[in-house]
Symmetry: C2
Subunit: 333 residues, 2 copies
Amino acid sequence: MSKNIPLVKDIGENGLISIIRAKVAGGVRLPVEIGDDAFVAGISKNYSLAVTTDILVENTHFRRDWSSPRDIGYKAIAVNISDLAAMGDCKPRYCLVGLALPGNTPVDFVKKLYTGMNESARKWNAKICGGDTVKSEKDIVISITLIGEIKNGAAITRGGAQVGDYIAVTGTFGDSAGGLFILKNKVKINAASRRYLLKKHCLPEPRLDASRRLAKTGTITGMIDSSDGLAASLRCIGEESCVGARIDLDRVPVSPHLRHLCRTGTPPLISTVLTGGEEYELVFTFPASAAAAVKKALPEATVIGTITAGREIKYYVKEQSYPLPSSEFRHFA
Amino acid sequence: MSKNIPLVKDIGENGLISIIRAKVAGGVRLPVEIGDDAFVAGISKNYSLAVTTDILVENTHFRRDWSSPRDIGYKAIAVNISDLAAMGDCKPRYCLVGLALPGNTPVDFVKKLYTGMNESARKWNAKICGGDTVKSEKDIVISITLIGEIKNGAAITRGGAQVGDYIAVTGTFGDSAGGLFILKNKVKINAASRRYLLKKHCLPEPRLDASRRLAKTGTITGMIDSSDGLAASLRCIGEESCVGARIDLDRVPVSPHLRHLCRTGTPPLISTVLTGGEEYELVFTFPASAAAAVKKALPEATVIGTITAGREIKYYVKEQSYPLPSSEFRHFA
């Protein structure tokens, strides 16, 4: 606590979300409320809206000397598509863009930002339909709201994992954090790995198609994207489903490029893999009996552990328990 | 132009919106697209979504030394309700709140902000369902997205005014700008007027009910809220409807409190009335033949002029043409 007055940085994002949830509780109950990747609200006999919003702040979420305006725009939409993907078989439809800009922002930045946003939106069949542009004093702030359509009752939340379920993931972990490390530090690394890791950081691809294929199996009990890192995603599933997990670190997929970057121990491989944020893979659970169906739907998915009773997320290397590195990404810190 | 590189402040909000509209053009055509108070998109056989977003930046749109956190929250939702009201008989439903906060923001600020937002949302039957909280470096930024429901084909845009239509308004004009003037300057004014003008600035009431009553007449051809001031609203209707207007300044409603504030000529009454922003009245048009129906539906509305051919908005005092004061509010200036 700073001087007795509690500040946002003292309680962090989770503390804030608890306060906000309590404040807005009550009223009509929705199928999925505040605290998941998106909220879901019925709109017709067959369909619900799935809606998500993300705020991106210059120098916190992007830097103009690290990313082109087009890439910043592309990623801003992509990370919201990822939130919809985390809800299951969801069709992105409409997108709103709020922009706060200092007066000295070049017009060209805005044009190229929209080129990237438009490209990204169209790729996933969403349309930019509205927005707001205002003046800020210092920071460029990009606020994206994405509205998708999902069949009634089809939303997959973070809260449905059952003891005994398998935990699986798409893609590899730590690559985006590896890319960020390269941007922040002087690093000796081969050109292909540099290119690969930077692309994973600057131009992430949400797993909308993988999510659709998984949802169609009708067996997925819990799902989340890994935008705050793998460990945070697992903790969310654990908390919302009132369960624990056992993760076999040897099974967590890691790219050869990240191994190459981490070959000297800096950055450390395991904590990069577990706590690196801005990753947009899917982390999902399903009963053991559905393993064959899931494998058929998404052969490239990797099982990394199982849901356990109790409330702890435990990491293992072989049969050795491994303490979670404490460098976990924290907003407001 | 600043040093050959065009900046956002050189082209202003209208220039930006033109660029953005061109960038996102194409794809599925919606009933109401970017550039109106809200966009409207079909979702079922009977209903469409009306969606609007607003970004509020500390020190541009609100100041913590001028407004309580509760009032800031209340107004943040209210101004978005006003955008939905400007679309006609629209039911606010779901609300998303994006918050960018410096780490040193007191937790208490966030709590009270949500108290105000919640109060405001519930008053108009909307529910805060989701959002995002992130860290900013300096500015507090509040991004609100509001989703409403409107009958298919019922949206009233800025683009339907016809030559000969009457132009009418709700409420009085310039009060919010008067309140802002009091906050910015040492002003001698009686307590009742001070209270009234400050309230109009800090706690505006959107005209949702008036809009419903007007829409039910089925005669409203064009509508907009006056968030950027009366003159800007009239210019928008003119541009989007490809018409001009004749406004009788004597008929524009002015509160006795604003007259009292402006009694010495500072601030000047007419430019405060015409160009003062952050006002959330309705400006709307209808054929002369509907005058009786409109008067019955909304007795407190005031006719202030008529739509004319040509593209100019002309202001008159008696039969004397009056030049528009140039102090019009400009974003990014």
